[in-house]
């Protein structure tokens, strides 16, 4: 297995975590109730910490030091899915995205816990336990908000409709997909997507929501190949602002 293949895998997982972590942190101080403010802030802290651990693995493979890598790249060097870079919008969209993304993330780390690439497997065995709490939180609010009032149900349904094709973009395949599967580094996006559908559908049904009809499924791909919406550029600029002022300062 060549390192370029491993690096590509590490980068996409790290970038997803870093960018969604940053989006979650934007709820700090703005959450609708204190507990929710704390929840999104805590999940942000987890996700950014997990991305840092992945950037440290990349550093060991010859990539730049973690902070430099996270805070000095331009938007067109990121390989997160476009889904995670979309603005938070309102609580309905943030909750639906959190639900769709975290189920995928937890299943991804459960798969990676069996990776033949041992440094990643070690990290994944730890991270998958932490992500359980993110999934519990998402499941609770997905159902609660969908069963609230007529307005909240309608809002959740429309957030789900707006999210769906972006969420499918989480499973955009790598050009190294076959090698990764053959070397047992990662079971692959197709397998992940199928597990993900089985995991989320019961909760969507319990919430009383409906998935868009299958003929309308049309994944928004491109993120993994560095194509992004204009939102990522603004996010990256803000996220790295302090670091870029004084890149060599000690914290």
């Amino acid at each position: 297995m060549n390192t370029a293949t491993i690096k590509e895998l590490l980068y996409k997982v790290a970038d997803d975590l870093l960018i969604i972590g940053h989006r979650h942190s934007e709820w700090t101080g703005l959450g609708p109730i204190l507990e929710e403010d704390i929840s999104f802030s805590s999940m942000a802290q987890d996700k950014i910490g997990q991305s840092q651990a992945l950037f440290q693995l990349l550093y060991k493979l010859g990539e730049p030091e973690a902070d430099t890598n996270a805070f000095t790249r331009n938007a067109n060097q990121f390989c997160n899915a476009q889904f995670v870079e979309l603005p938070n919008d309102e609580y309905d969209f943030s909750t639906v995205r959190h639900f769709l993304y975290d189920h995928a993330d937890q299943l991804r780390f459960e798969m990676l816990a069996h990776s033949s690439y041992e440094p990643l497997a070690k990290l994944a065995r730890k991270v998958k336990g932490e992500l359980k709490y993110h999934v519990f939180h998402a499941n609770t609010w997905m159902v609660k908000l969908s069963q609230g009032t007529e307005e909240s149900r309608a809002r959740m349904q429309s957030a789900l409709n707006a999210s769906w094709n972006y969420a499918l973009g989480l499973f955009e395949e790598s050009k190294f997909e076959k090698e990764l599967i053959a070397a047992k580094v990662f079971e692959g996006e197709v397998a992940l997507k199928s597990k993900w559908l089985s995991a989320i559908i019961p909760f969507i049904e319990k919430a009383g929501l409906k998935l868009p009809p299958e003929k309308e499924w049309n994944p928004v791909n491109g993120g993994r190949k560095n194509f992004h919406t204009e939102h990522l550029e603004l996010l990256v600029k803000e996220m790295g602002e302090v670091f870029r002022v004084e890149p060599h300062s000690q914290w």
Partner: protein, 174 residues
């Protein structure tokens, strides 16, 4: 007689791994002053080398725990103050922490601090396990989970309907 594993240096001074573990018992969690890092289960390896240098390995409770650097420093300071000249402290994931690693004494310390200790688990955690956590103040299980996230990554928020108090739990983690 000396314990197996006792290391002598050229001057005849000696140090055992057991002694190092004992010295470390005074290093407390920065957030929970009743709980030692040893009882929390985050010290994973203590090694005394031939030159009496000591190498400590730690594991984080959560990958994103912001206190880990500070805890490394506290361990380092403790051993230096105890007169050990060469000390190295590092953190890795060779041994992944889970809440079953907290010692019995550690669980009591948590309770003394007003935190519900994590229940033992069998490698799997369900959302049901988080409901009806026993209240650390009155022991009632007539409680509900308010949020799986609390003031630090390792705590969740609960409410006791029996003694009408909010409380926190040190979360079970697999």
């Amino acid at each position: 007689m000396v314990d197996a594993g006792t290391i002598f240096n050229l001057q005849g001074a000696m140090l055992t791994e057991k002694e190092v573990w004992e010295k470390l018992e005074v290093v407390k969690d920065p957030e929970i002053p009743t709980l030692s890092m040893v009882d929390m289960g985050i010290i994973t390896k203590v090694e005394v080398n031939d030159d009496l240098s000591v190498a400590i390995e730690m594991t984080p409770t959560f990958v994103g725990c912001p206190a880990i650097k500070m805890m490394e420093q506290m361990v380092y300071n403790c051993l230096k103050e105890a007169g050990i000249e060469k000390v190295s402290v590092s953190t890795n994931l060779d041994v992944a922490w889970n809440s079953n690693k907290i010692t019995e004494r550690g669980l009591l310390c948590l309770k003394k601090h007003g935190l519900a200790p994590p229940p033992k688990h069998e490698g799997e955690i369900t959302q049901e396990l988080l409901e009806h956590v026993a209240c650390p103040f009155c022991g009632s299980k007539n409680t509900e989970t308010k949020s799986p996230f609390g003031p630090t990554l390792c705590r969740s928020l609960h409410y006791c309907h029996n003694c009408l108090q909010a409380f926190e739990q040190f979360k079970p983690v697999v």
